[in-house]
């Protein structure tokens, strides 16, 4: 496992270096975005698959697509800032010798992403403030805490990648939107491949042995992270910015929609399959 693990990470580092780019020169930024265009396809928006999608007029829906995309990129850049801080805390610790080199590249690339998503938001809209407040008081033993941290990183990247894949190939979106999502997806696919290796490795080092009490706290914290992340896509500020009057009631109503739970299942599908295959969590339905 050790040699194969190191070899996979070395290949991913080589691939990252081979695809190196300067984010400040990589994109052609248009002066403005078409006022009447879509910035996110309607089915990817938080109103997707719900009666509210049909109830909104096209003008409001297009405005919402702008603010939902600002929210998505804001979540991405805030999340990536957290990832960089988390990973920086660990890359020179024991157990990370084989992955340290990869994670230095990872931090380079995450810094690129934070820059270009912030640039997009500032040019064409705004960055929504980070609304993340972690209030979990239970402490896990250090190895389990590190494992959960890297699992959270993996889930965060896989959820974002679902959007990146769709938006990079959607011809109804402006070229700059497709390009940002395509570049992000290309980098993230390496991060996800590495993340799965790292999570498997850390899980093996844990020996799969969680006491029943530890499992309860672990699954509670994991679920909290998943649900919090999913609910972040329903930021009431973006509904208000799109001109929807009762932004809080609108958010509540969307979160009650069975179709949204189905969509959340799609967003999480590959992550949940990974959790089941590895045996990390067997009953994944209860995680979201």
């Amino acid at each position: 496992m050790g040699k194969a693990y190191a070899e996979v990470l070395r290949k991913l580092t080589d691939s990252s270096l081979a695809h190196d780019y300067d984010p400040r020169r990589r994109f052609d930024w248009p002066e403005s975005l078409a006022a009447e265009g879509w910035l996110m396809p309607p089915d990817l928006m938080s109103v997707g698959d719900t009666p509210m999608l049909a109830a909104l007029d096209e003008r409001t829906l297009k405005a919402l697509s702008l603010w939902e995309s600002m929210n998505f990129y804001s979540l991405t850049l805030h999340g990536e800032r957290e990832l960089v801080m988390l990973i920086s805390r660990h890359i020179h610790s024991g157990g990370f010798e084989s992955s340290s080199d990869f994670f230095h590249r990872f931090i380079d690339e995450e810094n690129h992403h934070m820059w270009f998503f912030a640039e997009f938001c500032r040019r064409y809209g705004k960055i929504y403030p980070d609304a993340t407040v972690w209030v979990s008081p239970e402490n896990l033993r250090p190895e389990l805490d590190v494992f959960l941290a890297f699992l959270r990183i993996l889930l965060f990247e896989e959820i974002g990648d679902y959007f990146n894949i769709r938006m990079s190939g959607d011809a109804s979106l402006p070229p700059i939107v497709r390009e940002l999502n395509a570049v992000h997806h290309a980098d993230e696919s390496r991060h996800i491949a590495a993340g799965r290796q790292v999570v498997r490795r850390l899980w093996e080092l844990l020996g799969g042995g969680l006491s029943p009490e530890e499992r309860t706290v672990f699954e509670t914290q994991l679920k909290e992270y998943v649900v919090f992340t999913l609910q972040s896509f329903y930021n009431p500020r973006m509904y208000a910015d799109a001109g929807i009057r009762d932004c809080y009631g609108f958010r509540r109503e969307l979160l009650r929609q069975p179709a949204r739970r189905r969509r959340h299942g799609l967003l999480l599908a590959r992550s949940l399959a990974f959790l089941r295959i590895t045996g990390i969590v067997t009953q994944t339905e209860s995680l979201y």
Binding site: A131, W134, P137, E224, F228
Partner: protein, 89 residues
């Protein structure tokens, strides 16, 4: 008036956590896991809707302002500060 408004917050929390039977003004909402990260943000949005004021979360100290109903009342319901000695839950 102040008591009814704090009661509204208390009722919201008890609806979210039906296993909790009662809450005092000084019950620690975080240490007692009345609020977790998910209910915390939903509680913030409820507070915003209820008070008509946006609550900035980016300060990093937001969680500490939400530790107890008394702290929430004192921090976010300024007009009720004069009545704080009259409130009992």
């Amino acid at each position: 008036m102040a008591k009814e408004r704090v009661d509204e917050l208390k009722q919201w929390l008890l609806r979210e956590r039906p296993d909790v039977k009662d809450l005092g003004l000084d019950t620690d909402l975080i240490d007692n896991r009345i609020l977790d990260s998910v209910t915390f943000i939903n509680f913030v949005y409820f507070m915003e809707e209820f008070t008509g004021k946006k609550i900035p979360l980016a300060s990093g100290s937001a969680a500490n302002s939400f530790r107890t109903l008394r702290m929430i009342r004192d921090e976010f319901m300024e007009e009720q500060n004069n009545e704080q000695n009259q409130i009992t839950l």
